[in-house]
């Protein structure tokens, strides 16, 4: 059977931590031997969608294009990690429908915290009126109603958030539960069979 991919769709306010967690996840999934492609707002906006602005229409177009690319990759066995503000519920739901194996991750973070972070100085510019249609300031963000995972980036370390997504992917059966040899945990030295055998031995010895 052909290996199937999946798309982890991060959504949330600017500076809510989507990319930070996606990068950790990318590292972990690669370590587990998966093919991974990360589609990031900042990069796509400079390439695939450089002709687009930030009106609702353009934002929708951008998400449609990303959805299309994610769909192609997903059906070809790639683990796709998208990090876009993707503020509109309707577009996210369309993406879910088209892509199929879709895990929505809501990077939940109070706007004040995002503003304090503001690594690119965008909130500052938006508040000064230099950027129009800025999500969280002058454009709405529609919270997901039923995301597969909520990461609360103001209260969790990025590693904890990434671990929650990993746990969900494991639970959904999208990734194997045990990281194969050479995983992100460099301590892993046993193959899955060996680990299982040692586990059984320790159990028989009463240690666990």
């Amino acid at each position: 059977m052909k290996e199937q991919g999946f798309t982890v769709w991060f959504t949330g306010l600017p500076s809510s931590g989507k990319t930070t967690v996606a990068k950790l996840l990318e590292k972990e999934l690669r370590a587990r031997g998966l093919k991974v492609e990360r589609l990031d707002g900042d990069i796509v906006r400079r390439s695939l969608s450089k002709d687009l602005g930030f009106t609702k229409e353009d934002r929708d177009k951008n998400i449609e294009r990303v959805t299309f690319v994610a769909k192609l990759l997903t059906r070809n066995g790639v683990a796709v990690l998208t990090s876009f503000i993707s503020p509109y519920r309707e577009k996210r739901d369309q993406a879910r429908e088209e892509i199929g194996r879709f895990v929505e991750v809501y990077a939940k973070c109070p706007v004040e915290v995002c503003m304090r972070r503001d690594p690119k100085g965008l909130f500052e510019k938006a508040l000064a009126g230099e950027i129009e249609n800025f999500t969280g300031i002058s454009d709405p963000y529609e919270e997901p109603l039923n995301p597969e995972v909520v990461i609360e980036t103001d209260r969790e370390r990025p590693q904890e958030s990434a671990a929650k997504v990993i746990a969900k992917l494991e639970e959904l059966g999208y990734i194997p539960k045990v990281a194969p040899e050479g995983g992100v945990y460099p301590d892993r030295v046993y193959s899955r069979e060996e680990e299982k055998a040692i586990d059984e031995r320790l159990r028989a010895l009463g240690y666990i």
């Binding site: 609360e152 209260r155 904890e160 671990a163 990993i166 301590d187 028989a204 010895l205 009463g206």
Partner: protein, 464 residues
């Protein structure tokens, strides 16, 4: 100065220092010429953290070793088995190798895969099989194979009722280990030589009820009544053979990682958590099921736990576990509540059993990795922790994984003979496993690193 460290897994002071001392001439003579005393283990007193603490001089928190398996993340099933690579702190042999000393290290957990040392290393009983690359340098494996054939890391099929076969295997393993030890003692250059033999631990877990009249299943006059003593005599004889090979410039240490005591029963910790409403299942298992096989209703679960010679309890915390329910603000309150209830839990008749529950933060100087939220020593370790579910009771008198007779005890043994100073056979108290690494470096005339937590034990100290 040369040093031989004889590691005997699970050997308790009561048997060697008291009950069978007169039957063990070689150990008794080391005690008589040196110093000796009970060696307090780590909490938990369990093989991997205890040996690792012993050879690094650092507590389990510093090592991030809270058991054989540790949480690698906050997922519900993310446990990793400890390996030599998870040991990030330097061990005695690393310091000695750096100081230009030749070392031989055999079977000290955790040592799979074997690490590069100035000398030789054979990995421990957590080695998958004799097919695995178990030796450093790799060519040593062939040498061992030529000497003994298939190297025995541990007993096969420990949970057996075929006690004769179990005993035969234990003797074969110990015999073979000593053969390898003698070969390397003779053929390799060494300043420091350490090995760990698992045989005593396997004898205790497999046969304690036959020789301890206080065990609830003890039957006077049973055919395995002398198995314990005979094995100890055999072991003592083997140690005598090694002592006969040493020159008069060699110090000898005999150490164990923890002790042993009879097992009175098991507390089914997850059954108890269910009964108290902390753990909810989506469906009850048919028969007895391992925790990993259960359909846990995580959204309504506050705590779950793992079995073993001690208990590990985990809390389901919001923002930490995927479906966490405990508000981080209530974390300490929930822990306190569980400590109080668990420590008050008696046996099936309500009789107090003396359970102690620890917060990792109160045990260790530092916490690395992800510790359990609580560490439980049930009934002063006369009771084990049973993780499986389906017993419909909290108290069992059988182990969930098959017959077992002994639990671990908090104190192991320490014997040190230094040819330069007589210890006068003095018994010393207050020794701890983290003292062993500083003791070895001190004997070798090397400085003890400041970050080692133990203190060097000397024979001089024992003199009046």
């Amino acid at each position: 100065m040369k040093i031989l460290v004889i590691g005997l897994d699970c050997v308790p002071p009561e048997l060697v220092f008291d009950k069978w001392r007169g039957e063990l001439p070689n150990l008794a003579s080391l005690m008589g010429m040196g110093v000796y005393g009970p060696l307090e283990s780590t909490i938990p007193p369990i093989t991997v953290p205890a040996w690792a603490s012993m050879v690094t001089g650092k507590d389990p928190g510093r090592l991030g070793f809270y058991g054989f398996r540790n949480r690698r993340d906050y997922s519900y099933n993310g446990f990793s088995i400890v390996t030599s690579r998870s040991l990030k702190e330097k061990a005695i042999w690393d310091y000695l190798s750096e100081a230009g000393k030749d070392v031989v290290v055999i079977g000290v957990p955790p040592s799979y895969p074997p690490k590069r040392v100035r000398g030789c290393m054979i990995s421990c009983f957590l080695t998958p099989s004799a097919e695995s690359p178990y030796a450093y340098p790799p060519s040593l494996k062939e040498e061992i194979q030529r000497l003994v054939g298939e190297y025995i890391f541990d007993i096969k099929d420990f949970r057996t009722d075929d006690k004769d076969n179990l005993l035969k295997q234990i003797y074969e393993m110990t015999e073979q280990r000593f053969k390898v030890v003698k070969h390397l003692l003779k053929t390799k250059p060494w300043d420091f030589f350490m090995f760990v033999e698992m045989g005593p631990d396997r004898v205790h877990h497999g046969f304690w009820k036959y020789f301890d009249p206080e065990h609830i299943k003890y039957q006077p006059g049973n055919s395995y009544e002398n198995v314990g003593l005979e094995y100890y005599r055999f072991l003592d004889g083997k140690i005598g053979e090694l002592l006969g090979m040493l020159d008069d410039q060699t110090a000898v240490l005999v150490v164990s990682d923890h002790g042993a005591k009879r097992m009175d029963g098991g507390i089914c910790i997850n059954e108890w958590l269910m009964k108290e409403g902390y753990l909810k299942l989506k469906e009850k298992p048919k028969g007895i099921a391992r925790f990993e096989e259960l359909h846990v209703d995580w959204e309504n679960t506050v705590a779950w736990a793992a079995g073993g010679y001690y208990g590990r309890l985990f809390l389901n915390v919001r923002g930490r576990e995927a479906s966490g329910v405990i508000d981080p603000e209530n974390y300490e309150r929930v822990r306190d509540e569980l400590i109080e209830k668990l420590e008050a839990l008696g046996d099936e008749n309500g009789k107090a059993i003396g359970t102690r529950v620890y917060r990792p933060q109160e045990l260790y100087s530092e916490i690395r990795g992800i510790p359990p939220d609580l560490i439980i020593l049930f009934g002063d370790l006369y009771w084990r922790s049973v993780g499986s579910v389906g017993w419909n009771t909290v108290w069992v008198r059988e182990n969930d994984t098959g017959p077992d007779d002994a639990d671990h005890a908090l104190k192991g043994i320490f014997i040190m003979y230094d040819p330069r100073h007589s210890g006068g056979g003095k018994k010393v108290e207050g020794l701890h496993v983290v003292d062993v690494a500083p003791t070895v470096l001190n004997l070798m005339g090397l400085p003890v690193p400041k970050d080692m937590q133990g203190k060097a034990i000397t024979t001089g100290e024992a003199e009046p």
